[in-house]
């Protein structure tokens, strides 16, 4: 990854491309790369859909290598949903292919004149940016079917559906999976609208003739990779639970804990949770000839995904993840897996974030647009309103915050205008701290269960101290930011959390590849550096401490069954970024 591709969509005479040396980014990746470039090159106070914003696409530090489970791709920009910095990542094949092509990043800047729609084809010999108006207003599935006929099956696609073309701020960027289906999405923050504003419908990545990136120390790298894979396979979460049931295995547990936000965060338990649980979902998938175990990209050794077939045994969608099942399920009072899977298909096809869309529908239900539990109504809203860009569809596609305003709803679960995911912060207060303070807006992956205990980020935390919530969240956010830069799937967090030898093999993987010695301290320093840059960008965009807050109702409305409110004070929240 020794080069960066820069595409100027504003250039006179049509888009221009240039290639520059990767420099400091040659040994960086993912979120570290996207956030550094955005912080350096994008004016924080610009309009996110203007020529001044840039779309930065970066594979991870280990993408394109033989390292297991290293295929996450990051997309960064100023978010049109939050107004702050955004890094949104996804699986699929794109990261591996882009890294093998040698690119540390693609930076897309400017806006083209006119209404033409472009596609970008990148292979080892050239980059071709061409007008293709025949792709206009195609959704992701038909678009990819069409592009496969033109470019074949040995490529990876990144694309936007109609939501991205219509500049909806919940629009995602789809990345194709190993079967070339547009099922993996950089979903959060409206990155698809930024791609749409630059009039780019699809990026075709073709690594024919390229090989894996070679490690500096091949032997060390190989040994570390073997140990890393062994560690992942022997851990009960990454080796058994996730492959068997996927992330939706969390439904029953969250519901039992009373932390499963139900009917727009009114209660913490859904009476029909077991009907839509990962256990029930996996049984249904297997019974219909689908798969309960499937990787979103080649080289994934966990395989938390699956294939969801319809009643006739035909492919309907990939296995919906926990957050999707929640947003379209319990959050909306819907308890039918086929309805949820159909909504997941339409989200992917239109190209919207499943969390933002599901939460917006729940808020619309609260606002009386349809009833809670209206399966057909929910499908109609996504397929016929959002999918067709009607005025109501544009409100919903504008996210949960906009939907709340349009329908006079006071209980709107957003932070920095981004919808909260599937864990109620009144039950698990620590995650509320992350939702409130993350640079990204409410995001469950911003402070993942990474090995802060092993890393000793911030030293040993006393879990009994009241400020422990803030310390834990801070440490988790720092460690997660670093992992987001490696290109490794966050689900490696569990084996590295519990097995110090697997954490060491991760350090050896990075060390063996780059020919350097990595320590836990280096990981912490990287995480802190990136978070500081992101925080500074957000300050420049007008964010202050008052934006690091949960919506008021979390402090005033008690959540049954535990009848708790969110109790971390504003003063405590303001202590999160205390290292600079």
């Amino acid at each position: 990854m020794d080069k960066i591709l820069r595409i100027d969509m504003s250039a006179t005479g049509g888009p221009q491309q240039s290639t520059e040396k990767a420099g400091e980014f040659a040994a960086l990746g993912g979120r570290a790369t996207t956030s550094t470039i955005v912080a350096k090159e994008v004016p924080p106070d610009c309009h996110p859909l203007s020529a001044e914003n840039k779309l930065v696409i970066a594979p991870g530090m280990l993408s394109g290598t033989a390292a297991a489970i290293s295929g996450r791709i990051s997309v960064g920009c100023k978010s049109p949903l939050t107004g702050g910095i955004k890094e949104s990542n996804a699986g699929g094949q794109a990261a591996q292919v882009l890294a093998r092509l040698g690119y540390a990043a693609i930076i897309i800047e400017g806006l083209p004149e006119g209404d033409d729609l472009y596609k970008i084809h990148i292979n080892k010999d050239r980059v071709e940016i061409s007008v293709d108006n025949s792709n206009k207003l195609l959704d992701n599935y038909p678009l990819i079917d069409k592009l496969r006929k033109e470019y074949g099956d040995k490529v990876a696609f990144m694309s936007i559906g109609t939501a991205g073309e219509r500049l909806m701020v919940s629009a995602s960027i789809a990345c194709t999976d190993p079967e070339l289906r547009p099922t993996r999405h950089c979903g959060r923050g409206g990155v698809g609208a930024v791609m749409g504003s630059k009039k780019i419908k699809a990026i075709i990545l073709d690594d024919a003739g390229c090989t894996n990136r070679p490690p500096r120390d091949a032997e060390r790298f190989k040994t570390a990779n073997r140990a890393f894979v062994e560690g992942i396979r022997k851990h009960p979460v990454s080796g058994e639970g996730l492959p068997a049931y996927g992330t939706n295995v969390l439904t029953n547990v969250l519901n039992e804990a009373g932390g499963y936000p139900t009917r727009n965060f009114k209660t913490g338990q859904f009476e029909d949770a077991s009907k839509i649980s990962g256990e029930s979902q996996a049984e249904l998938e297997i019974a219909r000839g689908g798969k309960a175990t499937h990787g979103c990209h080649r080289g994934c050794v966990i395989q938390c995904s699956g294939i969801y077939n319809d009643k006739d045994g035909k492919f309907l969608t990939k296995q919906p993840e926990y957050e999707t099942v929640w947003s379209h399920g319990g959050h909306c009072g819907i308890s039918d897996l086929d309805t949820i899977a159909t909504l997941d298909y339409w989200d992917d096809n239109i190209g919207v974030d499943t969390i933002e869309m599901g939460v917006a529908i729940g808020v619309a239900m609260e606002g009386g647009v349809i009833e809670f539990g209206d399966d057909e109504g929910a499908i109609r809203l996504v397929r016929d309103e959002v999918g067709k860009g009607t005025p109501l569809g544009r409100i919903l596609g504008g996210g949960a915050g906009m939907t709340g305003k349009a329908f006079g709803v006071t209980r709107v679960p957003v932070v920095k205008n981004q919808a909260l995911p599937a864990y109620d912060p009144r039950t698990v207060q620590g995650i509320g701290v992350t939702y409130a303070t993350s640079t990204q807006g409410a995001d469950h992956t911003a402070g993942y269960a990474v090995a802060t205990n092993i890393l000793k980020v911030g030293g040993d935390v006393d879990p009994l101290k009241p400020e422990g919530q803030v310390e834990l969240s801070r440490n988790l956010q720092i460690a997660t930011t670093a992992i987001d830069s490696t290109g490794l799937c966050l689900f490696i967090a569990f084996p590295i959390l519990d097995q110090p030898e697997t954490f060491q093999s991760l350090l050896d993987l990075l060390g063996g590849f780059y020919g350097i010695e990595m320590t836990g301290d280096d990981i912490v320093a990287l995480g802190q550096k990136v978070l500081t840059l992101e925080r500074e960008f957000n300050k420049g965009a007008g964010f202050g401490p008052e934006d690091d807050r949960l919506p008021r109702f979390f402090q005033t409305e008690k959540l049954p069954p535990h009848n708790l409110t969110f109790g971390v004070t504003d003063a405590e929240l303001d202590q999160l970024y205390n290292w600079d």
């Binding site: 996730l242 992330t247 295995v249 547990v253 039992e256 077991s274 269960a449 879990p463 109790g567």
Partner: protein, 201 residues
């Protein structure tokens, strides 16, 4: 509700999944109450200690995650949910003895004083790998259902389920599926029945 009847079914092990929803939603069992969760699981249910340590790493007693099985006591009517280790921040947080337990401190089960002992009923919920591995054991020991619940359960079963039933007995009497459903429907819907399922591998 006194226990009045028992129903015994013999099924192939592949049909364990037919009970999945029931096990996730929770099944009532008769048990000695007033004991610790540790003693309930090992002494009454016969679950090996190693299995509990390695596999049942997430437990909820009456919706509260518990960290110490020796000082958490079951009362009459308690619900105990058993799960293996979970992914995600919140999943990790819920784990027994998690280093992130502080994040869910407000809902954690607290150390209790022992409660009154005697015979009673507790509800067991089984999730994920634990359901797959212990579901048959609990069903073989027997679960308590009202006739109405049993009717709902049996009515939802398809032909494949009924064709795979090797034997059905009410008390000591062999009974065919059609007569069984009729029998359950004619009984007091609130009266309780003990369902025991034997699985043949």
């Amino acid at each position: 509700m006194a226990e009045k009847q028992s129903l015994r079914m013999v099924l192939p092990l592949e049909q364990l999944s037919a009970f999945s929803l029931l096990l996730q939603q929770g099944v009532w069992l008769r048990a000695q109450i007033g004991c610790s969760v540790a003693s309930l699981l090992t002494e009454q249910f016969g679950i090996a200690e190693d299995y509990i340590v390695e596999r049942i790493t997430t437990l909820f007693l009456d919706c509260r995650p518990i960290d110490d099985l020796e000082t958490s006591y079951v009362s009459d009517g308690s619900t105990l949910a058993l799960s293996s280790a979970m992914p995600g921040l919140v999943g990790t947080t819920m784990r027994r003895g998690s280093h992130l337990a502080a994040m869910r401190g407000d809902i954690s089960g607290q150390v209790q004083q022992p409660v009154e002992s005697g015979m009673g009923r507790i509800r067991i919920k089984l999730f994920n790998l634990v359901m797959a591995e212990l579901g048959a054991t609990f069903l073989t020991q027997g679960i308590c259902l009202s006739n109405a619940e049993l009717d709902n359960f049996l009515s939802a079963k398809d032909d494949i389920f009924w064709q795979s039933v090797a034997a059905t007995m009410v008390g000591d009497l062999q009974i065919d599926p059609v007569s069984l459903v009729k029998y359950i429907r004619s009984a007091d819907p609130r009266a309780e029945i003990l369902l025991q399922v034997e699985f043949e591998s």
